[in-house]
């Protein structure tokens, strides 16, 4: 397992979650303590163990491709912070 020197600025960028300097410093210190626990996992031999992503005996749940009642356009847009006609409105993405 890797050593813990989290590049918080880089991770924050990946998460699209800018942090203040104070937040970064505080989280770094707190992660240090948490990783004292997390490092214990390193002691386990899990080479031949399969990974559990979820616990229920289901896979590839399928259903017929049928049109059923759903939200109206107005309902779906009711919480939009900004809209234009039938669209969600956001700042320009492509120049």
């Amino acid at each position: 397992m890797a050593d813990v020197a989290i590049d918080i600025a880089y991770i924050a960028k990946l998460a699209r979650l800018p942090l203040t300097d104070e937040e970064s410093a505080r989280f770094s210190a707190q992660f240090g303590r948490l990783f004292d626990f997390i490092r214990e996992l390193q002691a386990l031999d899990v080479e031949s163990v399969h990974a559990t992503a979820q616990v229920i005996p289901l896979s590839n749940v399928m259903r017929d491709d049928e049109i059923k009642p759903c939200l109206t356009q107005e309902q779906a847009l009711a919480n939009a912070p900004d809209r234009e006609g039938p669209y969600f409105k956001a700042p320009r993405i492509l120049e």
Partner: protein
């Protein structure tokens, strides 16, 4: 005095009381206690009274009413309720009114429960004290300086105060069981897949599960029966028949093998007062006729580490949707979309949510994925196997729900690891997807403590049966009154 939901339902159906009168009295009790408890983010008096009057009209006409008819019910603010504010305890959703209701809410209303309000919670269900609510902390009805537990702290507080007999919460690593223990009520985390997650705002999708938080075990059985079952809207809900749980409530435990977990007993032994309480609880189970056996969960001690990789990883993915585009609060990015995302998220999320998004993003990022996330998923497999082995030797497991009685507001809020350790006894069951509940087990320093009972997958009835026999014998919650009333 403690009034149960099933007693109310019976009185309402027999026309001894009107649903409207019951609702008015619950709303008055809430209004009286709310200044000291602050259990609700949104109160819904008009909606509740309209529902109650509708139930009364149907009873007057001789029509059938649902299994929860007329029972005042508190709903955690994580469940979408059509047209009503649903904040999930976050500033980011401070203006969100969902255009649909969650399956849990739909089923509660179909059973004629009377929803009186949306309860406070740790933001996005991340926390063990309700102090991470973006709005205000909730207080414990058994100690106003104490936390109600979390994340389902508002539902626990209002049910613990006896203002309403039933509520619903969600449990990802202990968020129903720990507050149930702190507020002297029954709290049930069902098997993963037992209750639909549709319309329940996601935190960690492989762990989140909704469940009852109630005055007694019978109420928990009735609420679980009402909300459980397959839902085509949730592809992780499992199509297993829902039994009539009330039929499985027992009065004695002859023939039941109850496993005590060696590792948990060693851990709780470090606190003599807590150890004494649980020793007495196990003696009560034995006195009811149960056979006590020794079992081992050798990987339970890795629960915290495993959970704090998997849950934040899933949270970082689930919470990516909050970017100010389609719903919730948006902060202006001066015409730049990425600046809009950044500002919205930086201002909208509180410290605990940010901490977990960063941790989860780290656990999932390229280069660390195998070392952290995949390794944690493998340890999850080992924990599940531990339980499989334990249940070869016993029918249910009995163990502590918590390591301490409710702590004071502010006592752990600056120390996330101390807060995370609150979930030590509840996380293993969550990772294994197993049903577990907390039932009142007495008092340490005059504060409530719960006993946890855990069963194999989809054996909620067995677990409720054991809890019922224990509750009937001990009556711990009914013996005392909360300090707020």
């Amino acid at each position: 005095m403690m009034e149960t939901g099933h007693a109310i339902r019976e009185a309402v159906a027999a026309k001894r009381r009107s649903a409207e009168a019951v609702t008015r009295s619950a709303l008055e009790a809430i209004e009286r206690m709310e200044p000291s408890l602050k259990a609700y983010i949104t109160l819904l008096p008009e909606r509740a009274l309209a529902k109650a009057r509708e139930i009364d009209a149907r009873i007057a006409r001789g029509d059938r009413v649902g299994s929860l008819a007329g029972i005042p019910t508190a709903v955690k603010d994580i469940f979408c309720l059509e047209g009503e504010l649903t904040t999930c305890g976050s500033k980011l959703l401070a203006n969100f009114k969902p255009p649909f209701s969650s399956t849990v809410v739909q089923r509660l209303e179909a059973a004629d429960a009377v929803i009186v309000g949306k309860t406070n919670m740790d933001e996005f269900a991340m926390g063990s004290s309700c102090e991470n609510s973006a709005f205000f902390p909730t207080h414990n009805p058994w100690d106003l300086e104490g936390v109600p537990g979390g994340s389902s702290g508002g539902s626990a507080s209002t049910v613990g105060s006896r203002a309403v007999p039933i509520g619903v919460g969600t449990d990802t690593g202990g968020s129903i069981r720990e507050p149930a223990s702190f507020c002297n009520i029954v709290g049930v985390k069902p098997t993963y897949g037992r209750v639909s997650r549709y319309g329940m705002i996601a935190f960690a999708s492989s762990l989140d599960q909704a469940g009852p938080m109630t005055a007694d075990v019978r109420d928990a059985a009735d609420v679980l029966e009402a909300i459980a079952g397959f839902d085509p809207m949730d592809s992780t809900s499992v199509d297993v028949p829902v039994p009539h749980y009330a039929d499985q409530l027992r009065d004695d435990l002859s023939g039941v093998r109850i496993g005590l977990v060696r590792e948990f007993e060693e851990s709780i032994a470090t606190d003599p007062a807590m150890a004494r309480l649980y020793k007495e609880a196990y003696a009560d189970l034995a006195a009811l006729g149960a056979t006590i056996v020794d079992v081992s969960l050798p990987h339970a001690k890795y629960g915290l580490a495993t959970y704090y990789l998997i849950a934040p990883a899933e949270c970082s993915s689930n919470l990516a949707r909050y970017d100010g585009t389609r719903y919730g609060v948006r902060l202006d990015g001066g015409g730049d979309v990425y600046s809009m995302f950044d500002k919205t998220r930086a201002a909208g999320f509180g410290p605990e949510v940010k901490r977990r998004i960063i941790l989860g993003t780290y656990a999932l990022c390229s280069g660390y994925y195998d070392a952290y996330y995949v390794r944690a998923q493998k340890v999850r497999t080992l924990m599940k196997q531990d339980f499989d082995q334990a249940f070869a030797a016993c029918d249910v497991i009995a163990c502590p729900a918590v390591s301490c009685p409710p702590f004071e507001l502010g006592a752990k809020s600056q120390d996330p690891v101390a807060m995370y350790l609150m979930d030590y006894f509840t996380i293993p069951m969550s990772l294994a997807g197993l049903p577990a509940l907390s039932v009142p087990a007495g008092y340490v320093d005059d504060l409530p403590v719960g006993l946890q009972i855990c069963a194999p997958a989809f054996e909620e009835g067995r677990m409720l049966g054991v809890a019922h026999a224990y509750e009937r014998r001990t009556q711990h919650a009914a013996k005392r009154e909360p300090v707020v009333s």
